[in-house]
Amino acid sequence: MAERHVQLHVPEPSARPGEIPDFSHLVVPPVHDARRPPVEAEAHSTYDLATTLIRVLDDDGRAGGEWDPGLDAATLKTALRHMIITRLLEEQFMLLQRQGKAAFAIRSLGEEAVSVSSAMAVGATSPGYGPGLDMHFPTYRQAGLLVSNGHSLFEMTCQVLSNSGDRLDGAQLPGLHSVPECGFFSISGNLGTQIIQAVGWAMAGAIENKRIVALAWTGEGATAENDFHSGLVFASVYQPPVILNVVNNQWAISSFQGIAGGGDTSFAQRGIGYSLPTLRVDGNDLLAGYAATTWATERARSGHGPTLIEWVTYRAASHSSSDDPTKYRPADAAAAWPLGDPVKRLSQHLIVTGSATETTLAELHEACRSEVMDVIDQAENLGTINSGPKASPVEMFRHVYAEMPPHLIEQRQELGY
């Protein structure tokens, strides 16, 4: 027996500020290698897919393999558009925050393919969104779901500005949207809690024998939260139509994924102990994300139960407007990320397949930019957190209960309203 010093093992990332980014621990298997089992496959027969990486686009932007969803060029261009709009919009939100016009800002830079591909794949077969129908339970880093599902960019911006156009009346931090009709559940702000809620939503669908799907979303860091477990346990026991999405963007504010307990396993692998089918997907490959979500959605709608998907991606931006990532990781880490940038990779694919040229892509970018800038201007005209009309103080008391109880009426009156 080899005696080792007994000591507390405190995992450290492969590189800290001033060091050279090192992603050699990320095993990238040959593209197109992963097999695509039938959607009714037994859970345990999918376990090999928890440690590989489902990839459709190769480094040159060519698609192939069993997982190629075979999307047409128009659909792909729409996807690209949604990714670009998401990116530009969030860039502007950050700017608004820096200018003191928004209380907070957060971005999905580098991860846009995750939410856009998921929203599109689910949307392709969705009976609609809202109570009794499909629903995403997102975190703050899935704005792409809203863009893809057609939410008004103007309304989104008003929410970020906490102005009088905010449908949440200033109740929530910028980015913590709630848009039932776009399948976007109210974001809590408390990590981990909404995984089990998505499972509950799916259980309700199963109780009503509806072919709906609920989608839970969590960062890899928040998988450490206890309710990740309750979500997996209930999904495992009741086999409801839910997709458990773990977005592994390598960082949770300042802690790298090893502090969430990744160890030498993948986060997808967490599902195995719970008898859940698991897929691990290249999160910067829109086609792979679309394919994986389509598989899980078909599985769910056809009565075969839950799937866990790990999206391997990289948080290229700061955690939020309150964060400075150069304090804890190399400044140039994002550029070294082996899976590249999702916008670039899809663009490249469109070019190599002859569906786009550098010129048409530049035009697309420009069109997106002017659309976004118009929206920002309009929304700013309505006011910001520091200027213009606000929700009435009455709003603060209004939605606490369906009907305002006596003590809240009294407190509202105390305030003079």
Binding site: A171, S186, R398, Y401, P405, P406, H407
Partner: protein, 346 residues
């Protein structure tokens, strides 16, 4: 005396049977009502409050859950938002804490943080209180930890008639309702004398439970004994202890059973204290920051000029609930009576 709803026929029921009946009535009326919890499906619950529901309504409407209070409440939030009317059982209120985050951060705030876009019309049932030799993990009364949370309603019945009517009202309520069941009252009223045999509900007027559908509105207290000398504010088991204390002391107390703690029936309380000028508050929970503190603060704020003596709080002590010294801990008729005498003597 609690007003008796009129529905025609009635049946003698324990509080357990009344609760089960409320669930059965609502599950029959409304497909959206589902019931679940630890051991609450096939077996019908460790207190038998859901007995027979799985057999009657099938395993998709009444089922067992994993031992995960957070999962139970979290799943209920998702189901409620979807459009169902989940009624979740927490086996003992002492075990609500793993689900507390889901109650406080999620169920309570979903409506307000989404400006009404999503709601969580769910009911969480949990047995509370001691007196069954359950020790510190089967005896707690955590109501104050719930009344502090904006967005929740908190209900606690003291008899079968109220239990059924309030539970039906809770299920129909559009907001999350915490439904606390004083377990010492499940099988009969309790006068605080543990050595005496249990009085069954079948001997008590409030054990005669109307059949079928009826509601008792949330937010309305009940004057269980009118009186002139002082006001006792109580709920759950302590309602009966207060009655026993009146018997023992002969003080003509007006006993109010609050029934709903939030929203509170301030009007009934204020009218009574303004009339009597004295107030005793009795609960089983630990004293510091207990719900008695809120009641005391409100009475003081609203009846200052009418108070002839300091408001007395008679409560559980600020210690865990011990199994061996259960009846030392429990605020029985003697201690409630002493509080009343103190208020009268001032």
């Amino acid at each position: 005396m609690s007003e008796r709803p009129q529905t025609g026929s009635s049946t003698r029921r324990t509080m357990i049977e009344a609760i089960r009946d409320a669930l059965a009535v609502m599950m029959a009326r409304d497909d959206r009502v589902v019931s679940f919890g630890e051991d609450a499906g096939y077996f019908g619950g460790v207190f038998r409050c859901t007995e027979g529901l799985q057999q009657e309504f099938g395993p998709h409407r009444s089922f067992d859950t994993p031992i995960s209070e957070s999962g139970i409440v979290g799943a209920a939030v998702g189901m409620a938002a979807y459009g169902l009317r989940p009624v979740a059982e927490i086996q003992f209120a002492d075990y609500m804490y793993p689900g507390y985050d889901q109650i406080v951060s999620e169920a309570a705030r979903l409506r307000s943080r989404s400006a009404g876009g999503f709601t969580a019309p769910l009911v969480i049932r949990m047995p509370v209180g001691g007196g069954i030799r359950g020790g510190q993990t089967h005896s707690q009364s955590p109501e104050a930890l719930l009344t502090h949370v904006a967005g929740l309603k908190t209900v606690i019945p003291s008899n079968p008639v109220d239990a059924k009517g309030l539970l039906i009202a809770a299920i129909e309520d559009p907001d999350p309702v915490i439904f606390l069941e004083p377990k010492r009252l499940y099988n009969g009223p309790f006068d605080g004398r543990p050595d005496q045999p249990v009085q069954p509900w079948s001997n008590h007027a409030l054990g005669d439970v109307p059949d079928g559908y009826y509601t008792i509105p949330l937010g309305k207290a009940s004057i269980v004994r009118p009186g002139e000398d002082l006001t006792v504010l109580a709920y759950g088991t302590l309602t009966f202890i207060a009655e026993a204390a009146v018997e023992e002391t002969g003080i003509d107390a007006e006993i109010i059973d609050l029934r709903t703690l939030l929203p509170l029936d301030v009007d009934t309380i204020v009218a009574s204290v303004r009339k009597t000028g004295r107030c005793v508050i009795a609960h089983e929970a630990t004293r510091t920051s207990g719900f008695g503190a809120e009641l005391s603060a409100q009475v003081q704020e609203r009846c200052f000029d009418f108070l002839e003596a300091p408001i007395q709080r008679v409560t559980g002590f600020d210690t865990p609930y011990p199994v061996g010294l259960e009846w030392i801990y429990f605020p029985g008729p003697k201690r409630v009576g002493d509080g009343m005498k103190k208020a009268m003597a001032y």
